[in-house]
Symmetry: C2
Subunit: 334 residues, 2 copies
DNA sequence: GTGGCCTCTGGAAACGGTTCCAGAAAAGTG
DNA sequence: CACTTTTCTGGAACCGTTTCCAGAGGCCAC
């Protein structure tokens, strides 16, 4: 049953030539006469031979595999990033190992171990919360690129200025006339979440607003719903709510619908990420755009560049612009 | 710079023992005195040694890696499946290689080649359109499980009865009073799409309806939008529209909003998959539920079972129930 | 004609583990 | 005490590929 796979030896034997020769035609690495080359090629075809990548990777320490650690594929923003990474990785023949960290550092460390054991050539880590020290310890000497996480000075990364994005969202609420606010933040140790909160506070300070409250969410719909219910329960809802991501904003909108609170007439709501569903909600959800697919693509290209030129030690850091997408959830009737 | 990783030899040398002995303590495969074991364990700790999985996989032909081929991670249904697969794969120490086929057989075949070259132990293929013959040729002797694709008699698979689901959706439209229909189908060679269309036609025949039309979409929002615009343009819209997936249904709803067509008063719309955003649309979108996460989980467990017991040739085929989720897009005012 | 440079080829080592084999020491058995 | 059995250990082959080394011709130049 377990019919042994056909190896380079089989094709060598078939042609009556040495394995080195076959290897040479495989890699075009040295002189091979065109007639033996043709014979070998024919044999490869006939025997249906495909070189064993494991053995290959074993000898030249190249696995053509990268790791992708994201918090959660079922979050549309991250699945966009994943798609961006994978689409371009495959072009260069790289396979992508998918890891869901659930924003937990232990899981991240566990995956990093797993990936290292598999000799991935590089890793893209999205939304990491780990400290710089923990990260470098866990990752060893494997090249990596961070997404949505700026590490001071050192690591190559792709991100948007979350603080500015948070300020953008909050300013927008202020400009349409809101004077009392709530912010639903992401997980407390998530770098992007703390930056967005800072952006929110920047505007509070700049406009000398003191009537605000901050709630702690976890970037999931459910937490937006829960917090929304609490906010709308006491009948004293703020005029503007900035949720640190779209999923929580959607949760808030559901809570509002349940409580009979009208958006945007009674409360304006804005999210963050610009995931596809924000366009389908009722009303459509204002948000801050982060180009997930593009960020994934760029992260991958930086990683590949590092792999090809390991000695150019410049840590590329690419910043994307957060862009306001004003939709109906913040469109007050005049 | 490229500091060589520490190998089994290094720890052997350190303890003054042979590599075989170290290998034995690593795998508990044979007698080792408890004191040498302790010494080896210490050395492993001190040197920070981690066995090279590539080398390991090379000798015992076990890579602890599986492949996951899905049409598109950024489609919420498939990202749910992906999450279900990965969550449980990692428990057994399996890494998951992510592949996006875009529903194209050539890409599927290309990925299959890639995965085979990497000696994945098994593959889960979601929504394949390839013929049975093509599939078995491309996949060789690698165990696999199909999701959303029932192959007559042979392959292990996890699916819902799409024909019944299609009928369920269509019956629902009929029951709420629709008498003229449109169906927006998925890509023509997608098995799930053709089954859903059959289910639609079953009901048309059963109820002797002739006033229906079928449009061909591609499972993306845009195609739903395009087709919706065409449908609503001529002013002669059907009473009920069954879109073969939720994304296209969302596109139809957008087209309706643009054209000033009210849902459900003027037209009832139902989708398929029950992806999360169906709950946030306005009105909320009726659909047929397919438990993506659960299907991924089960597919993985079947695959692992196959890997552990390669000689039990029973092809497990697990069927999930399609369930009607009646929401507001089909709730006619009485 | 002798030497040197291409072109082509095969042999063998190496990568980092696992596993089989054999032998030595220790322990048990009559 | 002679024997078998069990426990422990090292040596070596092996997995499938790449790559280094060396050698054999062929061709050209001097």
């Amino acid at each position: 049953m377990e019919k042994r796979a056909v190896t380079i030896k089989d094709v060598a034997r078939r042609v009556g030539v040495s394995v080195s020769t076959v290897s040479r035609v495989l890699n075009h690495s040295s002189y091979v006469s065109s007639e033996t080359e043709q014979l070998v090629l024919n044999a490869i075809e006939e025997l249906h031979f495909a070189p064993n990548q494991i053995a290959r990777g074993f000898v030249n320490k190249k696995t053509s595999t990268i790791g992708l650690i994201i918090p959660d594929v079922s979050n549309p923003f991250f699945s966009d990033v994943a798609r961006g990474v994978e689409d371009y990785a495959i072009i260069d023949g790289f396979a992508t190992i998918l890891c869901n960290s659930d924003w937990r550092s232990e899981r991240e460390a566990m995956y990093l171990d797993l990936l290292r054991g598999r000799w991935v050539e590089g890793v893209i880590i999205v939304g990491s919360r780990s400290s710089a020290a923990d990260l470098t310890r866990a990752i060893g000497s494997v090249p990596y690129v961070l997404v949505e996480r700026l590490m001071v000075g050192s690591a190559p990364s792709v991100w948007t200025d979350n603080r500015r994005g948070g300020a953008l969202a909050t300013s927008h609420l202020y400009e349409i006339g809101c004077r009392t606010f709530a912010h639903i933040s992401g997980p407390p140790d998530s770098p992007s979440a703390t930056e967005r909160r800072k952006g929110f506070l920047d505007v509070m300070r700049r406009e000398s607003v003191t009537a605000y409250e901050i709630f702690e969410g976890d970037y999931r719909v459910q937490s937006g719903l829960d917090i929304g219910q609490r906010i709308f329960a006491n009948g004293k809802a703020p005029e503007g709510i900035f949720a640190a991501n779209d999923l929580m904003a959607i949760g808030v909108m559901q809570a509002a619908a349940q409580a009979g609170v009208r958006i945007p007439e009674d409360v304006a709501v804005i999210g963050y990420d610009n995931i596809a569903p924000t366009d389908y909600t009722s009303p459509s959800l204002s948000t801050i755009d982060q180009p997930g697919y593009e960020m994934g693509r760029v992260a991958l290209s930086i990683l590949l560049k590092r792999l090809r030129e390991p000695h150019t030690a410049t840590a590329e850091q690419i910043e994307f612009e957060p862009r306001l997408m004003a939709r109906n959830s913040t469109r007050k009737a005049p």
